[in-house]
């Protein structure tokens, strides 16, 4: 697969906005602990005080600095999204490429499992697991990945089926390359651009899920999370604190998800020229 990245992506406003926001959020997640003026678990400030020069976004009902909380929450959400998306991508690529290449029984089993997993609401399983076992966020991210790989592996499988017939793969087979060798050395590296779409799309789902789980009160209460902040702040929405307490996590979450959505849509356009023509708003 060949992608003319410079000519296509860099001219696309969606890509520019999306990657710009993504860079900001990654920077916040990496530098969060350094930027935070206070320890977000420190409960020694005057509860529900309005923004001031020391507390940029004020203090919440528990006496914690909201700005520091926000930085840690963004970091947790981004991390959760990345881990879950990478795990889903790994499973999806390996299973999809194997299903497409080996066909037959492997294909049938993998695709049937994929069909079923797509039909099971992941949030319900996550809620059940979280309510029973109170797992770490890492475990939850991996369970979520177990439900997100099917869409990736379907795309990868379809692409593998068309790559099967290409000359260089046939040449590799002629030279005696085995199935595992071809999947590992030819198919998996070849489809790299597809992974970026998958990664962005799955990061979107995972971040949304993390926020929702936090919002529903299923994550560890001491762990900072955007969803949890929104949930707490919503209890006080009738007070005059909504703009400094409720809005920041909401805006962060929206921008975060907008950023990965834009990236996913613009990458999809780059890789599918038919779609590019359709999306650009001009008839080629």
């Amino acid at each position: 697969m060949h992608v003319r990245f410079k000519e296509t992506s860099l001219k696309d406003p969606l890509f520019m906005v999306g990657s710009g926001l993504a860079v900001i959020f990654v920077a916040i997640s990496l530098l969060g602990p350094l930027l935070a003026p206070f320890d977000p678990w420190d409960m020694s400030f005057a509860p529900i005080s309005p923004p001031s020069e020391t507390h940029y976004l004020g203090v919440n009902d528990g006496g914690q600095d909201i700005f520091s909380e926000l930085l840690y929450a963004v970091r947790n959400t981004v991390l959760f999204g990345f881990i879950s998306a990478f795990a889903a991508l790994g499973i999806g690529v390996i299973l999809g490429a194997s299903a497409g290449w080996f066909g037959g029984f492997v294909d049938m089993i993998v695709m049937r499992i994929a069909d079923v997993l797509l039909a099971v609401p992941a949030i319900m399983i996550l809620i059940f697991a979280a309510a029973l076992f109170r797992p770490t966020p890492l475990t939850l991210a991996l369970i979520l990945a177990g439900f997100m790989w099917p869409t990736i592996s379907k795309g990868i499988r379809a692409q593998t089926l068309s790559l099967r017939e290409s000359l260089h793969i046939r040449a590799a087979v002629q030279m005696g390359g085995g199935g595992v060798y071809i999947v590992r050395r030819h198919l998996i590296p070849e489809m790299f651009p597809l992974y970026l779409i998958g990664l962005a799309a799955k990061a979107k789902t995972a971040m949304f899920m993390e926020a929702s789980l936090g919002f529903l009160g299923l994550l560890d209460p001491s762990r900072k999370s955007l969803g949890r902040m929104i949930n707490y702040a919503l209890n006080f929405y009738y007070m005059d604190v909504w703009w400094n307490w409720l809005m920041p996590p909401i805006l962060c979450l929206s921008f975060l998800i907008v950023s990965v959505t834009f990236l996913a849509i613009s990458l999809e356009k780059v890789l599918d020229p038919r779609l590019r023509a359709a999306l650009s708003g001009r008839t080629p």
């Binding site: 969606l14 695709m111 049937r112 994929a114 069909d115 079923v116 797509l118 039909a119 099971v120 609401p121 992941a122 949030i123 319900m124 399983i125 809620i127 059940f128 309510a131 029973l132 076992f133 869409t151 379907k154 499988r157 379809a158 089926l161 979107k204 789902t205 949304f208 899920m209 926020a211 929702s212 919002f215 529903l216 009160g217 299923l218 969803g227 929104i230 919503l234 929405y237 009738y238 909504w242 409720l246 909401i250 805006l251 979450l253 929206s254 998800i257 907008v258 950023s259 990965v260 959505t261 834009f262 849509i265 038919r274 779609l275 023509a277 359709a278 999306l279 708003g281 001009r282 008839t283």
Partner: protein
């Protein structure tokens, strides 16, 4: 039929079997997982909740979860709507579930219907009128909306329309304790429904719109559209009978793929507006650490989603007879 095709197990039959197995697996997990927990989880679970259990209640719960009559009797219990007893709400789980279900079906079902209808219609019309300012703004606006999660739209609508403007109620599904005529009651339900419904429609609409538009743009270029035009058919007939029907397919297929993930948004929206559906029930059960309710809602609603998606598989076949042959996976 003159030509009898040789019997082959169709994809649909295979799917029915797989889905039934999956449903069985989920029931089994719901049966086995609580029994797998180490230690006395009843005490652990309710120790951190506001609910205080009496000795007898605790013993009963423990008996419910250590019941050794086996998986078979658990399935029979489920089928008889015996899903346990909630000590947080002091009511059988099935009553709670069945009381909440209609509200969720109303909210989520209506949101899907509206967003499918409006998204489809707008997508077709916008694709038909290419390269105008309308198209550009619609597509950019919808792309942006696609990225905004339900939590944000929900809270924003609540703040603006309920808190600041005071146009709509901020919680509930009908006016409480009011003795109203049937029409006034329906009006009250609709009035309470506006904000949560708008939130969900705003979340579902962009996906449907963009998908319809993208497939319609490609359909318009197809040769049969030129033929239809050459025959002198009225534009509306070309657009819908010839074009849009083909743009409908990806919409329905993708709907099945997205449904399971879209449940999340509905849960969150119900909690934001305290809408008395399954999402709020689940939220309250989580707050109270009330396991029987969590277990019941999780299991039964997952089985329902599974059934809806399986039913959709048969709908595809009706909309597009080719699909049985064309779909490779």
């Amino acid at each position: 039929m003159i030509r009898l095709s040789k019997y082959r197990p169709s994809r649909q039959m295979g799917l029915v079997v797989t889905f039934c197995l999956a449903a069985l697996a989920m029931v089994y997990l719901s049966y086995a997982l609580p029994r797998l927990l180490p230690g006395d989880f009843v005490t652990a679970m309710y120790g951190s909740s506001q609910v205080t259990l009496s000795e007898a209640q605790e013993a009963e719960l423990r008996a419910y979860y250590t019941d050794d009559r086996g998986f078979g009797s658990y399935v029979i219990q489920l089928a008889c709507l015996d899903w346990g007893y909630s000590y947080a709400f002091l009511s059988p789980v099935s009553h709670l579930f069945l009381a909440a279900l209609p509200w969720t079906l109303l909210l989520v079902g209506l949101a899907h219907l509206i967003s499918l209808g409006v998204g489809f219609f707008a997508g077709v019309e916008v694709a038909w009128r290419r390269s105008g300012i309308l198209e550009r703004t619609m597509v950019s606006g919808m792309t942006l909306l696609e990225g905004v999660p339900e939590i944000s739209t929900g809270v924003l609508l609540l703040l603006i329309f309920s808190l600041h403007l005071g146009w709509f109620p901020s919680a509930g599904a009908e006016t409480a304790y009011a003795d109203l005529s049937i029409w006034a009651r329906l009006a009250g339900v609709a009035y309470h429904l506006v904000l949560p419904l708008a939130t969900l429609v705003l979340a579902y609409l962009p996906g449907n719109f963009l998908l319809t538009r993208n497939s319609m743009v490609m359909v318009i270029k197809a040769r049969y559209m030129t033929t239809a035009r050459a025959k002198g058919l009225p534009p509306c007939r070309i657009r819908y009978a010839h074009g849009a029907r083909n743009a409908l397919l990806p919409l329905v297929t993708r709907f099945g793929l997205r449904l399971a993930f879209m449940i999340t948004g509905a849960l969150v929206v119900e909690r934001i507006y305290a809408y008395p559906g399954l999402g709020t029930l689940l939220f309250n059960a989580i707050q109270a650490r009330d396991l029987p309710v969590i277990q019941g809602v999780v299991l039964i609603s997952s089985l329902m989603v599974l059934a809806v998606i399986l039913a959709l598989e048969f709908v595809y076949k009706i909309i597009d007879p080719r699909i049985d042959h064309a779909r490779t996976f």
